[in-house]
Homo-oligomer: 143 residues x 3
């Protein structure tokens, strides 16, 4: 991984054969980035996608081995059990430009992974919400 | 809705059964956020999508009731008739990870809605552009 | 093109019949924006998409003439051969809300093109990486 910093803004280049979620999470741990937003593009492989089955409170999973364009990555960083946790959704395109997507468990960079990471100082942490069935963001302000 | 602030940057958590466009628009009205950018992810339902038919200057509409992953949300905040107005496009994924998308009229949070809102002080407002058939952004600088 | 500025953040409105990649690249040249991030939405036509064939180190290309919703645009600005270079991926939706996407070579605005451009002062430039087969980002920090 290569990176650059401008104040609270980072460019993160996840290199070929590195795992995206693992690499960026380790980067957040190392840099003590507890809250923030991530977006990005690239070309990836070995993608583990999910779709949350709300009725059964479990993720339906799908593994895709092919080389895919990472057409969109959007996510956020919050604290879960005191550690930086990335929640991200992606869309990916195949060689016919057809798109799939969902919750991202993990993916490996096939060519490049180019990300924007904006560090923020919120008080966002996650706790299991039993009604939703997911660790949900908790913030001190409500509206 | 829960929220947190770091300078001109907000994290906005739209909770289960809240409407996304209505909730964030009301938040902008309350916080006097007139210009900015929004992105986000989540799991939604009761989605009203649109595709602009340029020849007929009307939106083709499609309503989807199913539970869907909100794989991408990108939008901006400008003033329209003096009030904060959100223009957003989304992509959504079903339980087979297939993706649909378009202009977002409204959607309800099915599990979570997690958004980044970056407030900006531009002079962006919208006026009907009769050639385009839409309320288009007006800015004082041209290039 | 119309634009507005708030510090290192720009709103860029690419108008009907203007080319997106060409217009924003020229804007970056003019404003001496060497590094940054871009996202956006709109309605476009005459779209030249790509998917990188990693084995053959070439782009598979697809041209779409139809009017399409620009449902997602994510990209970055780096220096390539000393000049601002935009690398962007998009997803687009047709009138049935079906989505395609990939690497964006060029597209023309059919109705509106509304972009966020965040200028950053990294040291990100691109050099051909022969293993990957693409001009890859080079940064001074590694992790």
């Amino acid at each position: 991984m290569q990176w650059g910093q401008d104040g609270n803004s980072f460019i993160v280049y996840v290199e070929k054969n590195e795992k995206i979620m693992d690499s960026i999470t380790q980067f957040c741990v190392n840099k003590q980035i507890h809250n923030g937003f991530i977006s990005g593009i690239g070309a990836i492989k070995s993608v583990e996608l999910g779709a949350f089955d709300i009725d059964n409170k479990t993720y339906i999973r799908k593994h895709i081995d092919a080389h895919l364009e990472l057409t969109s990555f959007q996510g956020n960083i919050t604290l879960k059990d005191g550690k930086p946790f990335i929640h991200a959704h992606i869309t990916v395109g195949d060689h016919e430009m057809k798109i799939m997507g969902g919750h991202l468990f993990e993916a490996t960079v096939a060519a490049v992974g180019e990300f924007s990471l904006e560090q923020r100082t919120f008080d966002a942490s996650r706790k299991l919400n039993e009604d939703v069935g997911l660790p949900c963001i908790c913030l001190s302000e409500t509206f």
